[in-house]
């Protein structure tokens, strides 16, 4: 057992009859623990007291990264570790069994798969309080962390022993309440190694909802495909001679039946490197009302230095909304510039046709929120793994990118 005095800084061997001096604070740089030694509180229903505090540090590419470790002792001899790095807290305890580390460098413990996060040699930089083993500044150990947020599995190896501990993310505010500490916990910086993502539960639920809504959208569309009339009510063929008088034509009458629904006008032409503009009017014979619309059909093609190209199409489809039942005819007046070749065109009128575009539009709207959430979740995980041995997209703060222990 080691006792480190926070007043004079002396580190003593408590088991030695003469309380042999192990180290002096002169060898340490003084650090004030955020949770004072002797603080008492209940964590997960168990009472604990802060017995000791040490600072450990790893060096990656010449940059030191330090974190604090608090030793907590319970009245029945329970021992827990509370670690803090940049405002992120983890409560850990020794494992009761030996975790398995697979070839994929993942560790398995209590049916949880932990991904390897980081392995580094840690060094004790500061120590105060009471510890059940000899600990001194400068002591080194290889530490490997495996994560499955909010859980962490840590392996600590020295020349003499290997110890495993399992920990869980703890919210700083709750910790301050548990220990009855004044003020507020250290400000969190970045994303903690096992900090639960606040977005993950939402993303999961939203993805399920997306699946449900997409299935419902498919059903709605299919239902209308099956139940809609989709009937061709008129089809006619015409020839347009540019420059000649009498281009405007009217079709035979046709009957639109059923509820107020759409009408599709499909125009197919034989235009070739030319354009024709069609003025249409769907005229209600009884009411003297007309729906006016214009459609341009243009089709150009050729070959240049980049190869063959084409632009436009020789056919067109127009959707007229909510047309009531009745007897109608079409007025068609094609026009173009100049006096080109005659254009043969057919016009087909279809009633009550479900529009696939709406289904895709709806799907597009439904996908946006999960996509945004997914992107933010990815950014969160990117931040988490930035300080690991396996950053997702290259490292920001720390250099190096290797998979070596």
């Amino acid at each position: 057992v080691v006792v480190a005095c926070s007043a004079c800084g002396a580190v003593l061997d408590a088991q030695d009859a003469d309380h042999r001096l192990i180290a002096r604070e002169a060898e340490q740089r003084r650090v004030e623990p955020a949770i004072p030694l002797g603080a008492r509180g209940r964590l997960k229903g168990e009472p604990f007291e802060v017995l000791g505090f040490l600072v450990r540090e790893i060096t990656v590419d010449g940059d030191p990264y330090a974190w604090g470790e608090y030793l907590l002792g319970g009245p029945e001899g329970q021992v827990r570790w509370l670690t803090e790095y940049q405002g992120h807290w983890i409560l850990a305890r020794a494992t009761t069994g030996l975790p398995e580390v697979g070839r994929d460098r993942a560790a398995r413990y209590l049916d949880i798969r932990f991904r390897h996060f980081q392995t580094a040699e840690a060094q004790v930089r500061y120590v105060i309080g009471e510890f059940p083993w000899q600990v001194r500044v400068g002591e080194r150990a290889w530490v490997s962390d495996f994560v499955a947020p909010p859980h962490i599995l840590s392996c600590e190896r020295t020349a003499d022993e290997t110890t495993w501990s399992i920990g869980e993310h703890v919210d700083g505010e709750r910790l301050w309440k548990a220990f009855g500490l004044p003020g507020s916990p250290p400000v969190r910086v970045g994303v903690g190694v096992v900090q639960p993502s606040p977005l993950a539960p939402h993303l999961s639920r939203v993805l399920w909802l997306l699946a449900g809504f997409a299935a419902a959208a498919v059903l709605v569309h299919l239902a209308f495909v099956l139940l809609s009339q989709q009937r061709t009510v008129y089809e006619g063929r015409f020839v347009y001679r540019p420059g000649a008088p009498g281009a405007a034509v009217v079709t035979d009458s046709f009957v639109l039946e059923g509820r107020r629904s759409n009408v599709v006008i499909e125009t197919r032409t034989d235009v070739s490197n030319a354009w024709v503009y069609f003025n249409f009017a769907l005229i209600d014979e009884a009411g003297g009302r007309a729906l006016d619309f214009g459609r341009e059909v243009s089709y150009y093609f050729g070959r240049n230095g980049d190869g063959a190209w084409q632009e436009g199409a020789p056919e067109d489809r127009a959707w007229l909304p909510a047309v009531p039942a009745g007897r109608y005819y079409l007025l068609i007046e094609p026009e173009t510039v100049g006096a080109g070749n005659p254009v043969t065109y057919t016009v087909r009128v279809r009633r009550d046709v479900p529009r696939p575009l709406y289904f895709w539009f709806v799907l597009g709207i439904l996908v946006v929120p999960p996509a945004v959430l997914g992107y933010r979740q990815l950014r969160f995980e990117h931040q988490r793994w930035l300080e690991s041995d396996h950053p997702m997209l290259g490292r920001g703060g720390r250099g190096g990118d290797d998979d070596e222990d």
Partner: protein, 60 residues
Amino acid sequence: MRTSAYTVLGLLVLSALTWAHFTGWAPGVDEVKNVPTSVRESPGSYRAIYRGPRSYTGAK
């Protein structure tokens, strides 16, 4: 909160899809009233709203 907002959005969008399919909704076209009955006999007499000279220059 996010989930419930998304639920509301999803239900609204699905309702809109059903309504659009049922009514045959589409971006509007212009409706003209009191079209003369002589259009059938004399198609050229009707001046459609969209009628006018075009000047297509889109081809390469």
